[in-house]
């Protein structure tokens, strides 16, 4: 049995091999190798991580500067017929404002070679609960309604590969739950679904598998549980102020759970792998030594910081 990288799947539909993309001197993606198969794969990363560029390359909208992307063994840019199988919801909030939702989705069906585009559009609009607003102009739609219309246009030809870039943007909680259910049902029917998001909770609800990206590279890959576990390994940073910082620092350096202590602007910045132990022991140490603690504040771990950590750990 061979060890497969967690970024690769056993039965790939889309394969990305050593792909880089740069715009001028800006590197958007760097040497990405991963694959996508049936089920939902979440592409997780902060803004600017290179998710959209990767999705655009997967869909054939842009070509890699180096490396190879194939869909069922073919280059999507030179095989337009592959798009009979692909549906894309791009990140941009873009629709033809002068069309009604029905005209827009019907147009998508006509371009996709659907045999009865009018009926297919009606079905797709019903799937995203937009039947009642189908004959209103898209220019009058809210952001969430436009998003659902774009999803309807992406599924009107019943694709078995669905690429969604931040599909839950602008949707309210009810619409979000419905879209998540829809995406999961498409995957359950055997579709390959790739969803990008910068919100971990969203991806957790959607995806069976996650590829975490940062700075244009893959930072981590695997099941939701594996990524979650990797994230809980991140050392916590706590800001502590006390009336006798030197003595407090000396006590903390000797503590097993503390990996570093630095003085910063009259306070201490403590890094620990075990926030619980620190919270439990710090008050006792302070009381025993007669030191008064005036501040104890864990620093927020932004998603960017989490990804930066994962990236550094690679």
């Amino acid at each position: 049995m061979t060890d497969r990288s967690p970024a690769l799947v056993a039965e790939p539909v889309i394969e990305v091999t050593d792909v880089s993309k740069w715009f001028g001197d800006k590197v958007a993606n760097s040497k990405l190798t991963c694959s996508f198969g049936a089920g939902v794969t979440g592409l997780l990363g902060p803004n600017g991580a290179g998710k959209t560029t990767l999705l655009r390359m997967l869909a054939g909208l842009t070509q890699p500067s180096s490396g190879v992307i194939t869909v069922d063994g073919m280059d999507p840019r030179s095989h337009p017929l592959l798009f009979e199988r692909i549906g894309l919801v791009p990140e941009e909030d873009a629709v033809y404002g002068y069309l009604t939702a029905r005209q827009y989705v019907t147009y998508a069906g006509e371009l996709s070679g659907v045999s009865n585009p009018g009926q297919a559009a009606a079905d797709a609009l019903a799937t995203v609960q937009l039947t009642d607003s189908a004959d209103r102009k898209l220019g009058e739609f809210s952001k969430g309604m436009k998003q659902r219309t774009r999803v309807a246009a992406a599924i009107v030809h019943r694709p078995d590969i669905l690429i969604l870039d931040e599909p839950l943007n602008g949707t309210d909680p009810v619409q979000r739950a419905r879209l998540i259910a829809l995406i999961r049902s498409l995957a359950a029917a055997g579709a390959t679904v790739i969803v990008s998001s910068h919100v971990l909770v969203e991806v957790e609800r959607l995806a069976d598998r996650i590829l975490a990206m940062t700075s244009g590279r893959l930072a981590a890959a695997g099941s939701v549980e594996a990524i979650r576990a990797a994230m809980t390994d991140i050392p916590y940073r706590v800001r502590v102020a006390a009336d006798d910082l030197r003595s407090m620092g000396a006590l903390l350096i000797a503590h097993d759970a503390i990996s570093s202590v630095t003085l910063d602007a009259g306070e201490m910045l403590i890094e620990t792998d075990d926030l619980g132990a620190l919270g439990r022991d710090l008050p006792r140490l302070a009381v025993d030594s007669g030191i008064r603690i005036t501040r104890f504040e864990p620093e927020d771990m932004s998603l960017e910081a989490v990804f930066a950590y994962l990236d550094k750990r690679r």
Binding site: L61, A94, V95, Y96, G97
Partner: protein
């Protein structure tokens, strides 16, 4: 509806539903309006002279080209600005079909708006002095001129952000000055296509001389003009299809 027809219809819907088209239509009707007022106020002889020396000139060397440049540049320009290129191109439709559909839509839009201007001017001439023979030359000239200009601007609209501006600057600087004065430039100029077709069919004897004085030697002939327009359209369709295949589209 086939994908080709669907793209043509949607592009025309976008073109003709906006304020831009009404503005262009207003401009295209301007020479006819002047012609009409002149015919009603001054009478027959002055009206024909105005038509030969001013109206035709304004229509075929400035207004019909400007309309076609705008439609040609925006056939893809509107999709790029509206960020709908992904919607259009990620479909099982060949890039050549997309390019052909966009060219047809730009041509039809420009020919419709420019043609209405040309017909209105010819009708205004008829109202002024009873000459009705210029309607067909006006339609043919504007349709062929629209094709040539729309085709040239089609790939530019795909690769440039300000293709309309670039086209209008070209029209004013190169065609209005260089092409009028330098024989080599005038032979390459797309406006010759429209004027050649027009003078080839026109009942006015003097119009070719008038246009030649200001625009350089013009070979009269609608057939030759149609062939030239078709060649320009074919070449530009090919270039556009290639650009769609090879370039990053967003």
């Amino acid at each position: 509806m086939t994908p080709l027809r669907a793209i043509v219809v949607n592009t025309l819907r976008g073109f003709l539903g906006g304020r831009r088209s009404w503005l262009l239509l207003g401009l295209a009707l301007l020479p006819g309006l002047i012609q009409l007022i002149s015919g009603l106020v001054e009478g027959g002889a002055v009206s024909s002279q105005l038509y030969e020396e001013f109206t035709v000139q304004l229509l075929f060397t400035l207004l019909v080209p400007a309309v076609a440049i705008t439609f040609g540049a925006n056939a893809f320009g509107d999709e790029k600005r509206g960020r709908t290129m992904a919607f259009l191109t990620l479909r099982p439709v060949s890039r050549w079909t997309i390019a052909a559909a966009k060219l047809m839509a730009a041509w039809m839009g420009a020919a419709l708006v420019g043609g209405v201007g040309a017909v209105f001017a010819a009708v205004a001439l008829g109202i002024g002095n009873g000459i009705w023979s210029e309607i067909v030359p006006g339609i043919v000239g504007s349709v062929l001129s629209a094709l040539a200009y729309a085709a040239v601007l089609l790939p530019l609209g795909l690769v440039m952000k300000r293709a309309t501006l670039a086209g209008l600057v070209y029209l004013i600087l190169v065609e209005q000055f260089l092409a009028r004065n330098v024989e080599q430039f005038s032979n390459l100029s797309p406006f010759r296509i429209g004027t050649s077709a027009y003078v080839g069919l026109s009942g006015f004897d003097r119009v070719i001389a008038t246009l030649s004085i200001t625009n350089g030697a013009i070979d009269a002939g609608a057939g030759g003009a149609a062939a030239k327009a078709a060649i320009v359209a074919l070449v530009m369709w090919g270039l556009t299809g290639l650009a769609l295949r090879e370039l990053d589209l967003v």
